[in-house]
């Protein structure tokens, strides 16, 4: 029968969802999306955007934190925007995702071996070196990058630049062109 608690903002716990959006590459689209999220009070943990394979279109990847109805509402609000062409919540689908970080560490003759070893363990590459220190480039999951930074901290981390998450669904094995369902 009727549910006495009508509310959609239930007491369900917060989850982290990955949402991708295909948007028109038009001046101001990022400002409009950011304003929409802020106005509705949605919690954006990270956001990346860049050109996609379609000319004139960019792809954005959001990590949104909230309960399931808040996240549904965020996706619907995003989709309603005129420049947003397609929105997908790919959290529960099979996805490939990566983040990237540039980590600048102080380097001395005493610590260089250890720092080098840490870099090798995390399969990070050295992309810059100088008197000040060395800059690692590391890609992978959030936890992996967090671990590497924590291990480097005792040596003196000078600067960390992190991107948000980029994600895509795993390749479909069924041979169909546009499979909407995850596996």
């Amino acid at each position: 029968m009727a549910d006495p608690d009508n509310s959609t903002s239930g007491a369900s716990h917060s989850e982290s969802h990955t949402i991708t959006a295909l948007v028109q590459d038009i001046p101001g689209v990022l400002a409009r999306i950011a304003a929409t999220f802020r106005r509705r009070g949605f919690n954006i943990a990270s956001l990346t955007v860049g050109h996609s394979e379609k000319p004139g279109m960019s792809r954005m990847t959001f990590v949104v934190i909230g309960n399931s109805s808040a996240i549904n509402m965020a996706a619907t609000q995003l989709e309603r925007l005129v420049e947003v062409v397609e929105v997908q919540d790919i959290t529960n689908q099979q996805i490939v995702w990566r983040e990237l970080a540039l980590v600048k560490v102080r380097r001395t003759p005493e610590n260089r071996a250890e720092i080098g070893e840490i870099g090798a363990i995390f399969r990070a590459s050295i992309v810059d070196i100088g008197a000040e220190g060395v800059t690692f480039e590391v890609t992978g999951g959030t936890d992996k990058i967090n671990s590497m930074i924590n291990l480097l901290r005792p040596f003196g981390v000078l600067e960390v630049m992190r991107t948000g998450r980029v994600a895509t669904r795993r390749c479909d094995d069924s041979g169909q062109e546009d499979s909407e369902q995850g596996i």
Binding site: A2, P4, D5, N6, Q24, R80, V82, E83
Partner: protein, 575 residues
């Protein structure tokens, strides 16, 4: 600027300003409300070439936006307003927000400083596209005259399709002046915009099943039913399945209030019998009403015995606040057409009898007291008298406040789409300019604007616009020298600590009207009311009636904010 137009091979060269005008004409625009300024003067400079476009000069850009809003509500066509850059554009914002909250199609064209000056804090520069992100459905900054035609066509398309709303187009001065090839055939670049979708059949079938199994259903018709012009279909469904029809504030007149199935409007200041009907229902079907907090109150205790269904053109409204058992995403009129054949004929004599009982036991009007004709008027009786004199067939504009609630309660609306009010935003000052737009959009109709003395003063300079355009609007000021709704809240919730709610220096409104050359009638006692109303109705030009109403009194019934029908207050605690 000469236009070249000889052989088919010659390109049509026009200035940006000319392209604006020709595109507006293509889009069926006949009236624009505006006020000129430096950045938009190049546009005004070509108006004399286009006699099909009528420009109505206002006295404040807010009135241009609100007049465009009123025009759009009554005609169903997008209203058009024009302002210059900087302060002209920012003055539109309250009007745009009104249209945004109530889903009204408006296209606002603003001038902008020259392209080279953008971002330099130039004279009269504002980032209006940034500033209006929250109050427009979409907006544009045009950078090339070649884009004007496509952008304006997109703007009209977005404004009028799907869930309607205001769209702002910002055009730099040099773009107005630049020559460009005028092409009408560039396709719209809106891959992500889907105007009106057809509701999936399964959603409609699920809704039909709920209706067919309900014993005590109630329809809640909102602004969406009026925007869709679904009057006939709504009535047919209600009659076929014998379902009483309540409305939201903005849904008033979706069904004629003298129809036997009409049961009024619920919520904070709605009729007690309507709120009680929702409370007893086992199914509430919203057609284009968004379960706003003024109706729902405490979500946990709203209509606890009822399943809910929601038909709405905007998917973002479905399950936004109230969780529903059936959601149908589509245009209300189209959905009703799909729904009616799937709905069973029903007879519900007990439920309909219950509606009559509730109306009898919780009447809106207080029992007619013995009051002498010399006594001061009270708000509700002014509206009731107006309803009598006009036969419920006028178009009623209102401001915001007590007078607005009394108008909604006591006027018996028999003409579809006849309440023009700022419901979602609740913008005082709406009363004067909205009536301007409504009268221009519906020149044959009798238009009455119920005004609060507070809101009236926010936009009263537009009496000049009324006089200049000879618009026969009847402005009725419910004058109690107070911000009445503020007094009520301070009386009920702030321990009668009356702060900043008394207007002790109101002008003589009748003299003010006469200063504008507008006929004025002052009403200060009950006996004067009806003759004054008749005199105003019969006058062929604009009229202002200054109705002095009695000591401040509270609007009842009331369900305090965030509460439920259990806390409904019907009568004042003491007189």
């Amino acid at each position: 600027m000469s236009s070249s137009q000889s052989t088919a091979q010659d390109k049509q060269i026009r200035t940006g300003a000319q392209i604006v005008c020709e595109t507006l004409i293509d889009e069926g625009v006949s009236t624009m409300f505006g006020l000129p300024g430096g950045a938009v003067l190049p546009l005004y400079g070509v108006f004399s070439q286009y006699s099909q476009l009528r420009h109505v000069l206002v006295r404040h850009e807010q009135a241009a936006a609100m007049a465009a809003d009123g025009y759009a509500r009554v005609t169903g066509k997008p209203g058009v307003c024009i302002a210059t850059s900087g302060p002209g554009a920012t003055n539109l914002i309250t009007g745009l927000a009104t249209s945004m909250m109530d889903s009204v199609p408006v296209v606002a064209i603003t001038g902008q400083v020259s392209s080279a000056a953008i971002g330099t804090d130039a004279f009269q520069e504002t980032d209006i596209t940034g500033s209006t992100l929250a109050v427009t459905k979409h907006n544009y900054l045009v950078t090339r005259a070649e884009d004007i035609n496509r952008v304006l066509r997109e703007a009209f398309h977005i404004a009028r399709t799907g869930r309607p709303g205001p769209v702002l187009v910002d055009i730099p001065r040099d773009v107005f002046q630049a020559p460009a090839e005028f092409r009408r055939d560039e396709p719209l670049n809106l891959p992500g915009y889907h105007g009106t979708i057809t509701a999936p059949e399964e959603q409609v079938e699920r809704l039909a099943a709920l209706i067919n199994s309900a014993q005590r259903p109630v329809i809640l018709a909102g602004h969406g039913a009026i925007i869709a012009r679904a009057f006939k279909e709504l009535r047919l469904l209600a009659e076929k399945a014998q379902i009483p029809v309540a409305t939201s504030l903005l849904g008033i007149s979706a069904i004629a209030e003298d129809h036997p199935l009409s049961i009024g409007f619920p919520g904070m200041h709605g009729m007690a019998y309507t709120s009680l009907a929702l409370d007893e229902a086992d199914l509430i079907i919203s057609f284009g009403a968004r379960f706003d907090d003024r109706i729902v109150g405490d979500i946990k205790r709203f209509a606890p015995r009822a399943r809910k269904a929601h038909v709405d053109i905007d998917p973002c409204e479905l399950n936004k606040t109230v969780r529903v058992d059936a959601a149908v995403n589509g245009d209300v009129r189209q959905v009703l057409k799909q729904l009616i054949p799937l709905t069973s004929i029903a007879k519900r004599p007990e439920w309909l009898e219950r509606m009559e009982t509730l109306k009898r036991e919780h009447p809106l009007a207080r029992k007619a007291e013995e009051r002498s004709p010399d006594e001061l008027l009270q708000g509700p009786e002014v509206i009731a008298a107006l309803s009598q004199v006009t036969g419920g067939g006028a178009i009623i504009c209102t401001g915001v406040g007590q007078h607005q609630m009394w108008a909604a309660q006591h006027y018996r609306f028999t003409r579809h789409n006849s309440l023009i009010t700022s419901g979602g935003l609740g913008a005082m000052g709406y009363e004067v300019p909205s009536a301007i737009g409504v009268q221009i959009g519906a020149p044959e109709e009798q238009v009455w604007s119920i005004c609060g003395d507070g809101g009236f003063q926010m936009t009263m300079m537009e009496l000049a616009t009324v006089a200049e355009n000879r618009l026969p609007v009847k402005y009725l000021i419910m004058n109690n020298n107070h911000l009445g709704m503020i007094v009520q809240w301070q009386d009920m919730f702030y321990n009668k600590d009356y702060q900043a709610c008394a207007y002790t220096a109101n002008p003589d409104f009748a003299k003010l009207a006469e200063a504008y050359g507008i006929k004025a009638i002052k009403v200060s006692s009950r006996g004067q009311l009806e003759p004054a109303l008749r005199q105003a109705a019969e006058h062929s030009g604009p009229v202002l009636l200054d109705c002095i109403i009695e000591k401040v009194e509270n609007v009842f019934p009331m369900i305090p904010s965030g509460q439920s029908v259990q806390e409904l207050i019907e009568e004042p605690a003491s007189l």
